[in-house]
């Protein structure tokens, strides 16, 4: 990679001074060492300190810098800048209220995550040592526990857009299945009851946008399918 100038079109909105959001055309010169979209945003912010976005770990584990990049949700820190068509169009995650520029209000997203009781429930007295779990049983949690709560999936899901207050959404349902699948958890029935509702689980129509955008390569649709199976098996 060499030095190059990259063109952007960025969603801007400051509720303190703007009557309405607008798209800002802006370019930035990058060094050969600038590989990721977040590197470019850092350079842009050095030029214009009013540009607002969340970021922290810059290595795809904290989930802060999710945004809509050329129409697709992703993490800025894991997106190769040279693979993006220019001008690179950046917008906040769709479907959630915008606070400012690329920063959305994630209250609804976390409310749904919290609604599935995202913690291990085991009412037996705690043993002195670890609870045993076979490597095979532990393997059931792979592809579930790695979720970083970036919200790329839920905010790409049309069912979540229409019913963010009622549909748990892919991230929350993935978390629900993470506990259902854990041999140490004793609340499977209670967890299924909690999802037995026309909206909470069954609004998933397997559109699979969530799978397409997950920056960690996880598959919420598959987890949702497993919960639906359990629900059906429980009913018969």
């Amino acid at each position: 990679m060499s030095k190059r100038t990259v063109q952007f079109s960025i969603y801007r909105y400051d509720p303190d001074k703007d009557d309405a959001p607008y798209m800002q055309d802006i370019s930035v010169e990058l060094e050969p060492t600038d590989r990721k979209l977040l590197d470019a945003l850092t350079k842009l912010k050095a030029k214009d300190d009013t540009l607002s976005y969340r970021r922290s770990c810059r290595e795809g584990v904290c989930g802060s810098d999710a945004m809509n990049i050329n129409g697709k949700n992703g993490l800025a820190c894991l997106t190769d800048i040279d693979e993006l068509k220019q001008p690179i169009v950046l917008r906040p995650l769709p479907g959630l209220p915008v606070i400012r520029d690329l920063i959305v209000d994630m209250t609804q997203f976390f409310k749904q995550y919290h609604s599935i009781k995202p913690y291990l429930i085991n009412n037996d007295p705690a043993p002195e040592r670890e609870r045993l779990q076979s490597p095979e049983d532990r393997e059931e949690l792979n592809g579930l526990y790695e979720c970083i709560l970036c919200a790329c999936c839920s905010t790409s899901c049309p069912s979540f857009w229409w019913n963010p207050d009622k549909f748990v959404g892919p991230a929350g349902l993935l978390a629900a299945y993470r506990f259902i699948a854990d041999t140490r958890d004793q609340a499977t029935n209670e967890r299924l009851d909690n999802l037995e509702d026309p909206y909470r689980l069954f609004r998933c129509h397997t559109i699979m946008n969530c799978v397409d955008v997950c920056p960690k390569g996880l598959n919420p649709t598959k987890a949702i399918g497993k919960i639906k199976d359990m629900m059906v098996r429980r009913a018969v």
């Binding site: 400051d14 509720p15 303190d16 001074k17 060492t33 590989r35 912010k45 050095a46 214009d48 300190d49 009013t50 607002s52 976005y53 969340r54 970021r55 922290s56 770990c57 810059r58 290595e59 795809g60 584990v61 904290c62 989930g63 802060s64 894991l78 606070i99 400012r100 520029d101 920063i103 994630m106 976390f110 919290h114 009781k117 995202p118 913690y119 291990l120 085991n122 705690a126 002195e128 040592r129 670890e130 609870r131 045993l132 779990q133 076979s134 490597p135 049983d137 532990r138 949690l141 526990y145 790695e146 970083i148 709560l149 506990f179 854990d182 140490r184 958890d185």
Partner: protein, 594 residues
């Protein structure tokens, strides 16, 4: 201007591992607790820890806390306090087992126990040979741990103030800590949290260096607040350079890679660690490995066009092992080095990683300062845990996996101490009239100043100064000029200008406030480093070389003591190292080799 006052029993600043662990203690004890965090809790930097947490569970082979204690004292180059170290290693099993009970998805052995892997500097039988002590969830231990602790807090109904930045510590005329001022990032509103206990769990400040494994948020906010409130900072010259950051990007590659069999090689493909640490080889302590790598590069045996990195090779490992135990590392290699580590070695360089020093604490988590000849006078109402605190268990060099252990053990003990002190009664002390004055003045200055220094440029100047003057190898003359330079940067950092004046989510303002914290840490580091005229652990200088009289350049007669940097007048004093463990014989001074 009237500032809203929120009354709580306790406020915890920071929701990483240490903050979440102490929050569990306070919430489960039924105390009214507020947890403030600049980011949603699971975005805290504990999430990036990879390789594991140390505990002598002995799940795969014999192990003992006493061996772990020996390794930690030796790793610290004898600067760690032996009472605190004994306390930590003896609490390790209990704390790790608790996490498992919270639901943390540890990897498992064939018989269903927590999986353990070898890690640098962790040995069996008092330094004999590497032992499996690091309890791991693949190479995502920090992620698994942080989420499990956040989830436990959800269960305990902990009250979080998410995306709030603490600004300043509130102390009264008698020095009691009464809470903090904080700003809600979404609205810019400043609020006073008036409490009976204040726990700092704000993490490290690795962002003072140009090349760092640390997240953007690691800006030493707790240290900055403590310094502005006149609390001295301990052992700030000791910074860990992790041997394996991805060359160029700085992203961490866990030592667990070497624990699983990875080998460091120079341009001649030589396994050079055999020359520097014949016994432990690639699993020697981090300071030893980082210096060996830097020596290889300095002597022309680095790799690549500029010969400026070495290679971390795991191509000889079974690809299934890599996919099972190190899946995150493979992703990082592909993302940040463009290398598939199954087929090709990874380019790595020593990268700033961890702050061994911090706010001085007793192992109970209570903050202590020298007063009237007593080095450990408790600051009433003030506690600290995790990377921002200095207990001191890491001394001059931390062992890998001891940081996650530190935040568990001391997060819990700080929480327990706060619960104990709060239950002992005592009402809220009266807030001083000017409780929010300093914070409001700082913000007002940022909002009105014209012609001041640019935040981005000032931060770069600080980071380059730290990198060039206080890196892996230190030089007497460079430290001297480094002091002058960092004091220059400090002047700029006190006159910052921002263009963004909005009240809504003003990240320019946040970054300026963070810069005011970073500079306190950078200054404490440079001045403390310049003052310590010996080599010890991570602090190695050219004018204190390895001699028969002073092996490794360490001078115990003069320098076996903790540095205390006083931010009020930039002066430095010292306090003795506690060589007396709680129940066992002291671990006697010895020359350190691996």
């Amino acid at each position: 201007m009237s500032i809203p006052v929120l009354k709580f029993d306790a406020v915890i600043v920071g929701a990483g591992g240490a903050g979440l662990r102490s929050a569990i203690q306070l919430s489960e004890a039924g105390l009214k607790t507020a947890v403030l965090s600049k980011v949603f809790p699971t975005r805290s930097h504990t999430v990036a820890a990879q390789g594991g947490v140390a505990a002598s569970l002995g799940n795969s082979e014999e192990d003992h806390w006493h061996w772990h204690m020996y390794d930690t004292v030796k790793g610290s180059d004898w600067l760690g306090d032996q009472d605190a170290i004994e306390f930590m290693v003896r609490k390790a099993n209990e704390c790790v087992v608790e996490l498992e009970h919270y639901g943390m998805p540890f990897d498992r052995t064939d018989d269903g126990k927590i999986y353990q892997r070898p890690f640098g500097g962790h040995m069996s039988n008092f330094g004999e040979k590497p032992v499996r002590r690091s309890c791991a969830a693949a190479d995502r231990t920090g992620h698994a741990m942080l989420h499990a602790m956040y989830q436990r807090n959800v269960k305990a109904n902990t009250q979080f103030f998410v995306e709030w930045m603490a600004l300043d510590l509130i102390r009264d005329s008698e020095g009691h800590v009464l809470g903090v001022t904080a700003m809600e990032m979404e609205t810019g509103q400043v609020v006073i949290f008036h409490t009976r206990a204040t726990i700092f769990a704000t993490g490290g400040a690795g962002r003072i260096f140009y090349s760092s494994t640390n997240a953007f948020i690691n800006t030493g906010d707790g240290l900055g607040m403590a310094a502005r409130a006149g609390i001295p900072l301990e052992d700030m010259e000791f910074w860990q350079f992790h041997p394996t950051g991805v060359a160029g990007a700085g992203v961490l590659i866990t030592e667990g890679v070497r624990g699983e069999g990875g080998i460091l090689r120079n341009a001649n493909k030589e396994r050079f660690m055999e020359r520097y640490a014949p016994n432990a080889k690639d699993l020697a302590s981090r300071d030893v490995v980082s210096r060996a790598m830097t020596t290889e590069i300095n002597e022309g045996r680095g790799c690549g066009v500029n010969k400026d990195y070495v290679l971390l090779d795991i191509t000889h490992l079974d690809p299934n092992t890599i996919m099972k135990r190190l899946p995150g590392i493979r992703e990082i290699g592909l993302q940040f080095a463009g290398v598939d580590c199954i087929k090709e070695p990874l380019p790595v360089v020593p990268t700033c990683h961890y702050q061994m020093g911090g706010i001085p604490t007793h192992y109970s988590g209570r903050v202590v300062t020298p007063q009237n000849g007593d080095y450990n006078t408790v600051v009433p109402g003030f506690y600290a845990a995790g990377e921002c605190a200095c207990a001191s268990v890491h001394g001059a060099n931390r062992l890998g996996t001891n940081s996650l252990l530190d935040l568990l053990v001391f997060g819990k003990s700080a929480g327990d101490s706060a619960v104990e002190d709060l239950k002992a009664g005592k009402a809220h002390r009266e807030l001083p009239k000017n409780a929010a004055e300093q914070s409001l003045a700082r913000i007002a200055a940022l909002d009105s100043r014209k012609g001041g220094a640019n935040v981005h440029e000032t931060r770069l100047a600080m980071q380059r100064t730290m990198q060039n003057h206080a890196g892996v190898f230190r030089f007497g003359d460079l430290l001297k000029s480094g002091v002058e330079k960092i004091l220059e940067v400090e002047k700029a950092a006190r006159e910052l200008e921002i263009k963004d004046k909005s009240m809504a989510w003003n990240t320019a303002r946040t970054e300026a406030l963070e810069m005011e914290n970073l500079i306190e840490v950078a200054k404490a580091t440079m001045l403390s480093a310049e003052a310590r005229k010996e080599s010890r652990g991570a602090h190695v200088r050219d004018d204190a070389p390895d001699t028969p009289e002073f092996p490794n350049g360490r001078n115990d007669a003069e320098w076996l003591k903790h540095t205390l940097f006083n931010p009020v007048d930039n002066s430095i004093s010292y306090k003795p190292v506690n060589m007396q463990p709680l129940t066992v014989e002291p671990i006697a001074l010895k020359t350190r080799s691996y």
